[in-house]
Structure formats: C-alpha cells, structure tokens
Symmetry: C2
Subunit: 379 residues, 2 copies
Amino acid sequence: MTDEELHGHLIGRQGSRRELNTPVLIVDLGALTRNIDVMAGFIAKHDVKLRPHAKTHKSPEIARRQIAAGAIGACCAKLGEAEVLAAGGITGLLITSPVVSPPAIERLAALNARTVDLSCVVDNPVNVAALGRVCDVATPLRVLIDIDPGMKRTGVASPEAAVALLAAIRAQPSLVYAGVQFYCGSIQPIADFRERAAAMEERADYLRTVIAALTEAGGAPGIVTGGGTGTHQIDPGLGVFTELQAGSYVFMDSQYLACELTGDDAGSPLETSLMIDARVISANVPGIVTIDAGIKAFATDAASPIVLSGAPAGSTYTFMGDEHGAVSWEGGRTPVLGEIVTLGTPHCDPTVNLYDTYHVVAGDTLRALWPVAARGRSR
Amino acid sequence: MTDEELHGHLIGRQGSRRELNTPVLIVDLGALTRNIDVMAGFIAKHDVKLRPHAKTHKSPEIARRQIAAGAIGACCAKLGEAEVLAAGGITGLLITSPVVSPPAIERLAALNARTVDLSCVVDNPVNVAALGRVCDVATPLRVLIDIDPGMKRTGVASPEAAVALLAAIRAQPSLVYAGVQFYCGSIQPIADFRERAAAMEERADYLRTVIAALTEAGGAPGIVTGGGTGTHQIDPGLGVFTELQAGSYVFMDSQYLACELTGDDAGSPLETSLMIDARVISANVPGIVTIDAGIKAFATDAASPIVLSGAPAGSTYTFMGDEHGAVSWEGGRTPVLGEIVTLGTPHCDPTVNLYDTYHVVAGDTLRALWPVAARGRSR
C-alpha cells in the first residue's frame, strides 16, 4: 500500500496530522510559502536571478512554486534529478556536477533534445569532447565551465585551465558556451556572518581573475552561477554573480538555523518548514523514551536531530540504531505510548532522500501529499 | 525511466556490469549464495533454527533464498517491512520492534488476518491491551515478550515486568503468548571473539533468570529468539536460544569484516557480497579523484567506505558532500574519467536503504535486478 493510499483519505481533516503512520516527513505549508516569498523578495531587490537548487527538495511541486515566485529554473546535482524534474514540467535546468560516464552522456543528450534550456557543467576537455560527439548540432547543449573555488571536488583548477576548456568547448559545434559556475560549498556553513562574508570576498577576487582570463580569450561569461543559502545575502553585493543557487532556504535545517544569515541583528527571516513526526514506542526506562525514528529516518552526516515539540523542554535526541532513537524525558508529565514527538532535521537534503512523500500540513491538518519524486536519483 | 527499463536489456551480457549508470548497488551472486549456504550449514549442525533479519536486505527474493536453504521465516524491524515481505509470499515473519501507534495497530491486525505465522514483540501492558482490542480472536496474533538486555531501547526491564506482561497477554483472547526476544545489539560488533563471548555469557545468565521467572508463572517460552551475525557462533552453545536473527551475514559489511567472527584462527567463513560501483567524474587535482558517490550513496553512521578495487593499492575514500567522494590516487597509472571504482559499505542496512534496486552480478556480467522492495518502509 502506498503512502497515497494510506494517507490520501486524511487530507483536509482537522487533526489528521496526528493520525499519520510514523516516522513521517512533514512540511509546514505556511512556513514553506513564507520562505519562498522571503527569498523571492530579496532577489527582486538585487541585480541577480535565482535558480534554486532542487537537490534540497527533489520535488517538481516545490520547484513550480519557486518558479511561480520568480525563479528562472532549477539546479540539479545529478542527471537523474534533472530527468525527474523535466518530466514534471520544469524548464531552465542546470546540472551542477559533470556528467561523464558513457551511459549518462547518452541520457544527457536525449534529455537535452527533449528539454527547453538545459545546461550542465564541465571541467575537463576529455569530457567536453565526449559530450560533443554525442550531442546533436541541431539542439546544442549549453555548458558552463565549472571553476574549483578550492574545495578540490570538481572544477578547473586555474585560469589557464579555464581558458583551455573554453577552446575545447568552442571546437564542438554541438555545444554552446554559456558561462561559469563557482560554488563555494565550504563557505556556506560558516556560522559568523562577517567571517563568511570575508571568505566569500576573498574567493570572489579569484573568480574575477578567472573571468578576466576568459574574457581576454573572448569568452566573457553570460552566466556566472554560484552561492547558496549561507551566502545569499553576501553574493549579490560582490557584483560578479548573475544568478544564485540557494536551495536549503525552503526548509532551513538546523545547520543553517545555526548560521547568522544576515549582517544585522534582526535574526533570520527564514524559518524551519521541514520536520519529522515520530512516536513514543517504548517507555520502560526512567528519564528516556524510545521513538520510532533512527538512522533510516534522519541523515547522520551532521549533528543529531533537534526535539522541536512533544517532549519536555530541554529534551535531546540520541540515535539508537536504524529504526529507533532515545529522547530524554526529564520532568513534566508521564510519556504516553504512541504519542508524537516532532524533530528538526540536522541536514535536510539527505534526510529528505530517505522518504518517498512529503506530508504537507497546515497546523494539525494534512493538506497534501507531494512525492519526493527525485529521491534516490543519484545516477 | 526505472532502473529496470534502463538496465534490463543488459542482463546476461558479458561486461555489462561496467555499462551501468553509477553509483550502483552491486550484489555478487556467488558470494551471496556462499554466505547463505555457510550459515545454513552452521545452523544445521546446532540445535537452533534461523529466522534471519530481513532489515538487512529488505528483499523477498533474498528471503526466499534463505528459506530455501533452511531458514524458518524472516525477522522484520518494522511493520512496513513485514507488509512488503508478506506481499512477496514470505511466511514466518517476526516483527522485532513493538507496534504501538493506533494506525499501525490497525494495519498489524489486518496483516495478521491475511498472513501465516506472523508474530510481533511487546514490552508494555498498555500496548498489549491495545493489540488485544483490535486483533481478532478467530486469528489470534502471536506475541513475544521483548526483554531488554540492558540497551535501554525496547523490552521489559526486569523479570517482574516480564511476568506482569505475561499475565496481560493471557488476559487477551485475541493474543497468543509465543515466547521471548532477547537481542543484544551492543554486543554484536565487539571485535574480539573472546570478549564478545564473555559479554554474551554474562547476558545469558540474566536471560535465564527472566525465563525462570516466566516458567514459574507457567509461561515457559516456546520461542527464545535473539542473536546476530556477531554472536551467531556463540549463541547456540549457550543452550538458551531456540532461534537466531542473524541478518548481515548475507552481505558482510566492513563493520562485521573487522570482527573476529569465530574462536579459531581459520578466519571468517563469510565474505563481502555487497558493494557500490562508482565512477571517476573529476581528476583535476594531483593525488585525488572525485567519484560520483557521496552521502546519498553510503550510510554515514559508521566508518568511511573502503576502496575494494579500481584505484591504486592503499587508496582511501573521503566523503565530499551529498553526491561526491574523494579517492586518494597516489602512484600507479593516471586515472581516466568515467572509470569505475568499487567500494565496500561500512554499514550495510542503511546503505541498502538508499537504493531501489540490487544489481546482481557474476564477475562482470549483470545477472539480475532485484528490487529493494522494503526500502524506506520504516513505518
């Protein structure tokens, strides 16, 4: 039985959130909508566009809402995500990792032939030649030069390598040079705003050097894409990016909530919209309850989940294996078997990747089921 | 496009493993079959039965092979897994966590009414009463008393609590008392065999105390279930278990490979059958390549993945975000974009949970696609 069959009949009924099987991935529709609107309002006031990263949500439904608020498309980490979003009607897709394996290049060419305004990044002349051989000159593929900001993950490692790659792209009639990508992933989570801004300014100097070299070679980039939720308040002022890739802002996990996102003291204009509802399934040990959400319910690459509600103030969560977690329960009332504890996610992207369905709520009413359509599409 | 559509046409073709989109979850059919046979041979020589834990593989296909080799059914961590295995024709299912939430109890009763020989564990009289109300006296549910071995996760906390729970079960005509569960999860991964055996012997003394109290109350358990891959060579000699729950033995992840599984020096009779094939997608930094497998390709709750083949001897893996990993590449030949690196999984259960399909291989030939049918079925 699918989630839709199990839970579809609860949609719109007051209190129905509390009737869901747990653990369940919850999106607060009001908070999600406010986050989309806050970011859209920020972008509208600056000379940049927003192509938000869909690797966060993996959902054509959420991408449509971002585009309705002004976004120009969506970024995807992998080809498989782009295939799913394209099938969901999303255009203006940018694949932010190189696509290099032979079967993937075939799929990329096929996707490009049937999709409006698809782009992908490249960082190696060998890959450029392979893409050039497979793509069709009738529907050339837009490619961006991926520039390594020092993470040593992907991207060209020097201005000279960028210029060489530009020449390689221009040698392929089935490819179109569309610009550059410069994603400073390791700067995004720096907690202190000034420190984050200084790191970004230093890296922007390097980016300008690469752009100058490309421009001198006749390849002034039309698109300069980068940035994330952590640096979105900093990036427009650098005057170098034409578009931003911020993605996590729709959900605001506890990693980003711990960041000082703005330079003033007004606090974050973004709020948590993503959470997990779990239930107490054992309560035989004083001071602890066991809930039905463990390693298969939360990504474990960041900190532990945060107890948002349902347990006494100050309660904390500890992983207890694949299917269970311990929530400390000191003081307050006696826990009741089956009662709901709501937790915040430490790192939203890989947590969402564990679930098939968003259960979208307003208060305690289930409002909609949205598939996590690109879950597991890492290929 | 599903994995089946993408990869089905490669089945049986020599070299087809190397044509798969990556990252891909690989099962070596020979190693899997040998592991199933080795465990079946061990069990046949001892006075215990095997009800292997399907939370490891989540696959009716693998459960069928275990049962064909002599297993008496399968354990499931959650009701959702049991629903999927039952739909796949597996009988003799034991759900090893309490089922307590109201919607789950309804589903459990429905599953029990249509399934042969279903059992679940209980650890609380309130839960027993709730199950008793919903189950049907015409098809009573078999329940086992879950005894906490000291993990403070689930289970009754004392012999007295076990006896009280026995009375609660007997008060419900729609429930049948079937025995006890005693799963020592924290003992399984102790690396040293003698230390693990001593810990298990100490805990078995406590288990005997609880069984004596139950027996005195007229509740000698028909089933005493517990044990895992780590203790399977120890448990039969304790003379208290009637059946074992070992699950990871089918795959042997690097956690269990690091354990001294037997008391002699013969080495492990079990071998790795599960791995991830990934590809080099960037190679612009001397001494490192970037592969297309990151936090969404491997569970991160244990150690890092192990490089099994495809990179120079001594290469190691480092996570580089959701979609990427760095593999050190010192000496040897120059890496080639798109070439395959094969990695061992640190913790198999939650790693499998990230994939929809097993790609089953013999050598470099793709032999079959098996769905990870109960992936994500944590409810």
